[in-house]
Amino acid sequence: MIKYLLVFVALIGMCIVFYPLVEDFGTLTQLNPLAESYVKGSITDLNMPNTVTAVVVTYRGLDTLGEVTVLFLATAGVGFLLRRKQTHAAHRKAGTEFLRTGADFLSPLIIIFGIYIFTHGHLSPGGGFQGGVVIASSILLLVMANASFRFSHALLHFSESLSGAAYVVMGLLGLLLLGAASFLDPRYLPGGVYLSLFSAGAVPLIYSFIGFKVGAELSSVIDSMHEEGGE
């Protein structure tokens, strides 16, 4: 009884914490100065239509690097906790013909769609994180449809570490070519034509590496959980 009372008090406390936020809230009618300078810089300096990508990859690039590191740590933790046993053999009923044919037909298309999403991240809604998740969903489809589906672990780890290292190298290239205080600055490649695929400097490359990294990491999470729970 006293425990429920304490929970109730804690929830009331949370309501009191959030009340000033609701009270001061008014829907804005114009951009604040920081957002406005980001939007303008995205068009004039970076030649990039999608300002969200400009914020993620360039203006807040260091935060994105940190978030990719958090993602790596979480996947490493999953892999550490769900260590695979050598003698483990999954006994699952094989999927039906329809399921397997459908999965084999759809998964390459989904992977290509994921690659499309992260290569066009600077032009349209999308980017490395979303594209990576789409690729991982295709891997999940393959794993669930085929009982005997096996990954190449070496390939997964290789592509994950290669794309992570390439992301940092792209950032360091900015530091090298454009001088100090320009880590992750993509302007060392030409800006290109506005609204074309090869524009906005190194942003499509950086976002593609992020996409490969996220896709490989989430695939290895799916793989760990599948190996552990496949009994």
Binding site: L28, N50, T51, D63, E67, V70, L81, F129, G229
Partner: protein, 123 residues
Amino acid sequence: MLILIGGILLIIAGIWAMLTKKNLIRIIIGFSIVDTGTNLIIVSLGYIKNATAPIIDTAIKTQTDPHTGLKILTKIVDPIPSALVLTAIVIGLAVTALMLSYAIRLYKVHGSLNIDDYEEFKW
């Protein structure tokens, strides 16, 4: 406003689930609900009335002035909260996977998902 209040309600519901439920899986679900509520609050703080997505293509009117520089005439939402939420969703997915694998590991070793069976890990 409605989305902000909805997000706060989701956070409170998630905290209630984390505090009162005994099953580890339900506690993890509560954590995911808090995650979603936080994302909703951040997105609602960046919303601008009657604005569209911040992608400056041909659908958005701009005006270039030699003195004041570029001016955007169509209303667009704040890109910064969108950028934060975009990464936070993927990070939330990975952290949920990490918590679930802790739960799987605990279940393998001790054979229980009830939080009361793990009193010795409390301190």
